[in-house]
Symmetry: none
Subunit: 197 residues, 4 copies
Amino acid sequence: MGRKIVQEERRLQIIEALYACLLKKPFKETSIKDIARAAGVNHGVLHYYFTGKEEILLTFLDHVILKYKTDFYEYMAAHTTAESTPRQVVSQMFNFVNHRITLDRRLSRIFVEIWEIGLYDKKVRSKLRTVYEEWIEAAREVIMRAVKNETLARRMSVSLVAFLEGMAMLSVILEPTQAESAETLAAFQKRIIDMLG
Amino acid sequence: MGRKIVQEERRLQIIEALYACLLKKPFKETSIKDIARAAGVNHGVLHYYFTGKEEILLTFLDHVILKYKTDFYEYMAAHTTAESTPRQVVSQMFNFVNHRITLDRRLSRIFVEIWEIGLYDKKVRSKLRTVYEEWIEAAREVIMRAVKNETLARRMSVSLVAFLEGMAMLSVILEPTQAESAETLAAFQKRIIDMLG
Amino acid sequence: MGRKIVQEERRLQIIEALYACLLKKPFKETSIKDIARAAGVNHGVLHYYFTGKEEILLTFLDHVILKYKTDFYEYMAAHTTAESTPRQVVSQMFNFVNHRITLDRRLSRIFVEIWEIGLYDKKVRSKLRTVYEEWIEAAREVIMRAVKNETLARRMSVSLVAFLEGMAMLSVILEPTQAESAETLAAFQKRIIDMLG
Amino acid sequence: MGRKIVQEERRLQIIEALYACLLKKPFKETSIKDIARAAGVNHGVLHYYFTGKEEILLTFLDHVILKYKTDFYEYMAAHTTAESTPRQVVSQMFNFVNHRITLDRRLSRIFVEIWEIGLYDKKVRSKLRTVYEEWIEAAREVIMRAVKNETLARRMSVSLVAFLEGMAMLSVILEPTQAESAETLAAFQKRIIDMLG
DNA sequence: CATGAATGAGTTTTCATTCAT
DNA sequence: GATGAATGAAAACTCATTCAT
């Protein structure tokens, strides 16, 4: 019993160490020993709790995804009610996404890193695919309440996610001020909200 | 005389080999010997023509950027005239960007790879910054002819580039059909053209 | 506990292997793998215990220096007393230096090697400087007991060390018999002892 | 005819380049291309005029030795006559050796380098052996004129050469001022001259 | 379970040497 | 003769992984 919990804590400790490492170095250049050092454990331990570097990354990814998904639904539950208009719901969705995801430059950096890994790693790509499909689907559902057009809602949600991820990438490369990015996001999203009628 | 040409050809041969390698493996996992093998030359040659792996990448990047920039201006010159309306010009710009860049999945993959490298490599990031700034600027100029509003034109061009790059990334991860992506692009761009009045 | 000892033993084993290698090849031509082979360990081990080739050399140097310094003071303690005359003390010093250092051709070879490394390597030169300054100082102190003249004692000790090291070098190049060298050393040193009055 | 001269000039040009290189880097780290660059010629040329790096060094050594030998005999011829006393001759010998050899730190550095090479390279060691034997013999002859004792003269000359080379080495490692070294040399040599009666 | 010593494959880089032009 | 392109062997170093204690 306690065993399993200790195990889970150790694994958590390790994936948090990976997060810290990824802020400094690309995954490829992050050695098992780097992660172990950051986690404050012996490097042998990592091979005990994980089958290898890849599994650490995959587990890390699962945790990040779960965390943001949970946060999203909690946020939406806290900021919208059954009476909220579609525009209000969409607006709250933008609030969450902007501040918790797109404008979080550290997260953006890590995601650019993960996209790249996903290019060549099937398992990572598969997880990313699920994330984006789920995200697009969530957006589509919210949008559908306003536009009532499947195809249009789907396209709008895909475009939205593409735009947001593109902004995340550009913010990492161009390093504009938060304000600049926030304004561009706001202007774009205002258009969308206007379209919802 | 012939010497300089041989040099340039060899360098070209090598960066083309890098291109081929990047379709299979991330840059970090692509060894000098891999590139040499792909180029059909001895690995020592790569150190003769380049100071190291990084310079090969940087040169590759320069070539790619130059190629697309040249192609873009040639395309625009061939497809627009002084009499073209702003909408026609923007429309042609979309034509080029969609088919030659955003929907070219191989190019998209390579750019995701380069974004990631730029995360930690100053020189690469600096080149990327220039590319995106130039691209945004080019789009802004074209858009300005229609909207006559600096701030708006800038925001629209940033949003456009973010959207296109986001679409490129999503197409790499989600691997939708060309048609799907093309439709999403078209729908989005139609909105923009409509906005130009 | 045992861990630290294993570490120290391995390091010792490795620097002893370096000693053996230096009898055969110059340091520059001695590869990490050569040293590993001589030590009977995997080459990776050398990178585990040392940061690189230079550190192995520096550690080796420290050990050699410490060993001879310790031996010297032990020898002097064993062969002289508070009642020994200055001449007797100087004589014992010569005994030690001749047999343990100057006439040890293997040591001489290694020191010629180290001189050369010190030519271009600051850390090695710095260590050599300390060694020679200490040696000159030790000789000066002993000589001072007899000549009571600072300048003279200093010059005599510098000359002595220069002569001894020159003899070491010549013995390496000319490869005379031990006897020849010993006689030259004895004759020279007899002069010095005579000078002490 | 002219051919041979051109050849000889090229070879000279190359060994002078080696001299320049040796002031900066150890021989082992000096590449053929380094020497070629210093000589202002194509690296292929070096393989045309020499069979390899070693032959360049050997030729260089021959030239240095010849130069100093010639200079020495010229100097002695210019500064002594048949009427000069043995003490005067020895004194002039010291003058030459001190200023042209022992106190020339650049030459000393290069000789430390060459000693080291001679440790492991038979041909170089053989040349060095000849040099030192000749030098000792030259000194012995001069000293013999005063002391009339074969064994003593031999020992004195060996000691002298050992001392001078030891001083050269120490000056390279300890980097004392020229004055300090000159004084130590003078004091030592005064003793010798006094011994000559 | 934890530790850290050991392994060995793999990477970038340097360079003497060769050789076609 | 001169040039510089090409070769391939060898170097230092890194690191995921294994395993005995």
